[in-house]
Symmetry: C3
Subunit: 138 residues, 3 copies
């Protein structure tokens, strides 16, 4: 069994942003040389997400609206967590979108359907944060 590990770093200019990281994960897979196995891609921070969906701007607007309806950023004082912080909404938004994805590796490729793309979902940005890519296989 081989294993591979890499951290991807991000600093967004906005509080909330969705970044397509499919190419970054593919580069990790190439570096690893692993042909058959699984790759885990997870946010290392609890106010960010990794998820798989479509790379379409309209849909990303819809996600933003959906998440703001379910767990609005403001007013900050609606959340118990927001004593010294203001990011309770980001903890909840990341929970809805998910912490991680596990993707099959077949013949040295991400084993994807036609429209699957991996995204980093930032919900409390403007600072350096990380995603972990861990691959195991052969």
């Amino acid at each position: 069994m081989k294993s591979y590990r890499k951290e991807l770093w991000f600093q967004t200019s906005k509080r909330r942003e969705l970044i397509n990281i499919t190419r970054d994960v593919e580069r990790c897979l190439d570096e690893s040389g692993i042909q058959e196995g699984l790759v885990l891609v997870n946010a290392m921070h609890i106010t960010a997400s990794v998820f798989i969906n479509d790379d379409e701007r309209g849909l990303h607007n819809d996600f933003e609206r959906f998440l703001e309806k379910l767990a609005p950023e403001k007013p900050y004082n609606q959340y118990d967590h927001n004593g010294f912080e203001d990011n309770a909404d980001a903890h909840i938004k990341r929970t809805i979108m998910g912490r991680e994805v596990v993707v099959a590796i077949t013949d040295g490729q991400l084993d994807f359907g036609p429209w699957e793309q991996i995204f980093y979902g930032e919900f409390d940005g403007k600072r350096r944060k990380r995603v972990l890519v861990k691959i195991i296989g052969e």
Copy 2:
């Protein structure tokens, strides 16, 4: 390390449908001959889900109602994504229900609690779509 891969194909007659695929995944596991490891089961389409819950019709009605309350199908024009398409709600519903499950394999069996069943959740059906089953182990 051994690995196994199979695609399961579905075409539902309704836009939304929940299909119990536990037996299909068990058949894959038998075919693989893997005794210890992990199985990843994921939707290969971004408007469908794979999740684990109870095979109970009342609960499935409750899920339908819950998902329609959170991300209603209509009116279609409430979503930016729905320019040429009408399935923004399906992208969001699948996000809530989840893309994938990872299940432990122990002694050649799915290592499940008493009521766990694997479902394919279709939210934009009436066409052929796929689920990936990937098993790694020994």
Copy 3:
């Protein structure tokens, strides 16, 4: 490839409770002797969750409020599932929070960001229920 399996048992005194199980999972990892690989931690019951977030009481109150808004426990008869049972809300709450987490193992440690903690989320408690820890690697 090595594999390791353990069940963790819980009985909460309240219907809903969040329990930090990070130490329990670390003990499993130590017992396994596995240095590189993946650990799957999943609820074996379909009214409970395993998820990763912050160990902060205010945030846990916010989660409780958020989940009760989305899928309130009462009135019980709002759910089709609640004929003989009263836990439809717990099935839905667990779906939102997630069934499982997969965590990378690097150098014999959980490969975590600064604030990641693993929680058992009980949504229909007061009885003995289980979490599965499955580790594969080398």
